[in-house]
């Protein structure tokens, strides 16, 4: 489903060139639960941006569901992000002026889904993450864990090919982190593909497979033997 071969990313910072990714190849199949780990500067953010279609590789190939993305324009990438990828961010990234329901409806707005259908699907997504009681709360009226659950509802509401989570528990306390990891576990059990970037080993251990990066290269790609399940 996700297929990277020899992906390089070079940033031009004036006179200095930074090789963020030095030829990464990987393949993630449907139903997988992958944790991408590595120290800061290892290239994991760059890799995540490329997988998330927010950035393009300098060279190499990235095929998403068989589509080569290097030839696509910005609008086509926006379309694919909308349909194929569900983003979960460290800082939740909800729109503060909108309530939970409207936040979850947002991607469907850009997919031109009719209002009634939007509402129905948003309520269902919020039910899945256990927030059906708080659909009209604004982000500042919700706890961090609840906000992240709204974000997960927003990520799954378009039935994307995979969830792309960037340090999803980075801003949460332990209990909330466990809540989120439970939801991820349940979603993955129900068939959702998850790609999660984290630097916490505890969190990474919830995945089925671990990809370790260092200096722009994958240095480890192994299944997790004793993964945490619920």
């Amino acid at each position: 489903m996700i297929e990277l071969s020899n992906v390089r990313k070079v940033y031009n910072l004036g006179k200095v060139q930074v090789n963020a990714l030095k030829g990464v190849s990987l393949k993630i199949n449907k139903g997988e639960y992958v944790a991408i780990v590595g120290p800061s500067g290892s290239g994991k953010s760059t890799l995540m941006n490329i997988i998330g279609l927010l950035d393009k590789p300098t060279s190499g190939s990235y095929k998403l569901n068989g589509t080569e993305i290097s030839t696509l324009n910005d609008d086509q990438l926006a379309y694919l992000r909308n349909r194929q990828i569900g983003f979960v961010f460290q800082s939740f990234n909800l729109l503060s002026k909108l309530d939970a329901l409207s936040n979850v409806e947002l991607p469907m707005l850009y997919a031109k889904i009719p209002a009634k259908e939007r509402r129905k699907r948003a309520i269902k997504a919020l039910e899945i993450v256990g927030l059906s009681e708080r659909i009209h709360h604004k982000p500042n009226e919700l706890s961090g864990g609840q906000q992240q659950r709204v974000a997960i509802a927003r990520a799954i509401v378009m039935n994307p090919s995979f969830l792309l989570a960037d340090e999803p528990t980075g801003n949460l306390d332990t209990n909330s982190s466990i809540e989120i990891m439970k939801i991820f576990y349940q979603l993955n059990e129900a068939g959702t593909t998850i790609v999660m970037v984290t630097h916490e080993q505890d969190i990474a251990n919830h995945a089925k497979r671990i990809l370790r990066l260092r200096d722009g290269n994958i240095i480890e790609d192994t299944p997790i033997a004793n993964r945490i399940t619920y």
């Binding site: 927010l54 992000r81 990234n93 947002l106």
Partner: protein, 402 residues
């Protein structure tokens, strides 16, 4: 994104920053309000002045002998000339001779000075004379030179104590001889007084009599002017020259008569008005540009403030076009709202100022439409750059923005 949703987002955004939006709109509000005020008062003034012209009659011209040429007895205008103009020119609707005579009007108790307008039955049609009681002169009055008279209502009141004095008799004439005439009508003073000008203010009695009757009781009753009304305003020039030529051929002379009408004055008036409008337009344009810059400024601030929001929207699937529309609609909404408030204040203001300068303001649908059109154009023009800036933000950079 659906356009309705985009409008809703824009309105929410404006409402969440009411004071700022209001301050931003101020330029547009002031610009549009002043345009509406000035244009509506201008239109009201124009209508009032055109109304004055219309009263006198824009399809009326007058023929008279020139001042600076020698006029022999045979050159003088006659009732035959009036008859010919009336009968032979197809574009002529009415024609009436007129001459003024000064004299006296007497009742048993009072003697007053009077101005006599000696004319015929068509004068009622070419002028805006208003009959309050009785009737105007008719063809028989003229044909037979009947001793009938119409007097103005103020004089009627003075002479008889009441306005409706139809059927009464009055003695008219010069100081030496008087004739008794029957009052057949009372006319509104205002109109004839305006015709008589400053003389009318000093001579209270204004009386209309058959020109044929005037010839009996006064000496030297020469027709000073012939008033002619055409069917259409655009026949004026043609009819004027035709009438002059007709009279010239009848009197066997040349270059002794001239025709005048109000079209020239009207054109000059409209020219001045259009210069006035252009100046106002320029002032309004400047205030709208200033208002537009205000909108651009605040939209740029708004884009910066909402960089993260833009990043989020882009990450979850908003295309450049969606972001562009969102900010453009917001800019247009601000300027349209400003335009609407401006129209409202312009309406209030023109109705406050109007009575002081004796003008009833006219706010036409066109003015309102143009005001809206202009304010939305300002919104689009000054909103496009900030909106483009927003649309072109790199989502990665935008998401990282604190």
């Amino acid at each position: 994104m659906y356009i309705l949703e985009a409008i809703k987002v824009a309105i929410d955004s404006i409402l969440s920053n009411k004071l700022r939006a209001l301050l931003t709109m101020l330029g547009i509000i002031i610009g549009i309000a002043s345009v509406i005020t000035i244009v509506s008062l201008g239109a009201g003034g124009q209508k009032a002045i055109l109304g004055e012209f219309e009263k006198i009659g824009v399809s009326v011209f007058s023929i008279k002998t020139k001042n600076n040429v020698e006029i022999r007895e045979s050159d003088k205008l006659t009732l035959k000339d009036v008859e010919m103009i009336r009968k032979r020119l197809s574009s002529v609707k009415y024609a009436a001779p007129i001459t003024e005579k000064f004299g006296l009007a007497k009742t048993d108790k009072l003697t007053k000075r009077a101005i006599f307008i000696a004319t015929d039955f068509d004068y009622g049609n070419v002028s805006n004379i208003k009959i309050i009681y009785g009737r105007f002169l008719n063809e028989k009055d003229i044909l037979m030179g009947r001793n009938v008279v119409l007097i103005d209502k103020d004089s009627a009141k003075e002479l008889f104590g009441y306005e409706d004095c139809v059927g009464k008799t009055i003695k008219i004439g010069s100081s030496s001889s008087f004739d008794t005439a029957k009052i057949i009508g009372v006319i509104d003073s205002g109109n004839l007084k305006s015709l008589g000008g400053s003389i009318a203010d000093q001579i209270p009695v204004i009386a209309a009599i058959p020109i044929t009757y005037a010839q009996k009781i006064f000496q030297d009753v020469d027709i000073s002017q012939i008033y002619v009304m055409t069917y259409n305003q655009n026949q004026l020039d043609e009819a004027s020259s035709q009438a002059v030529r007709l009279i010239e051929s009848f009197h066997h002379n040349k270059d002794k008569y001239e025709a005048e009408n109000l079209i020239g004055f009207l054109e000059e008036f409209n020219r001045i008005l259009s210069i006035f409008t252009a100046i106002i337009g320029a002032i309004a344009g400047i205030s709208l540009i200033v208002g537009g810059i205000g909108i651009m400024n605040i939209m740029l601030v708004s884009v910066t403030e909402r960089t993260r929001e833009i990043g989020i929207r882009k990450a979850i699937g908003a295309r450049q076009k969606d972001i562009l529309m969102q900010f453009l609609i917001e800019a247009v909404a601000i300027s349209l709202l400003g335009g609407a408030i401006g129209i409202f204040f312009g309406y209030i203001l023109s109705n406050i100022i109007g009575p002081f300068i004796n003008i009833t303001p006219i706010i036409s649908i066109n003015t309102i439409l143009i005001a809206f059109l202009f304010s939305s154009a300002v919104g689009i023009f000054f909103g496009i750059y900030p909106a483009q800036k927003a649309a072109r933000l790199d989502p990665i950079v935008a998401l990282r923005y604190e």
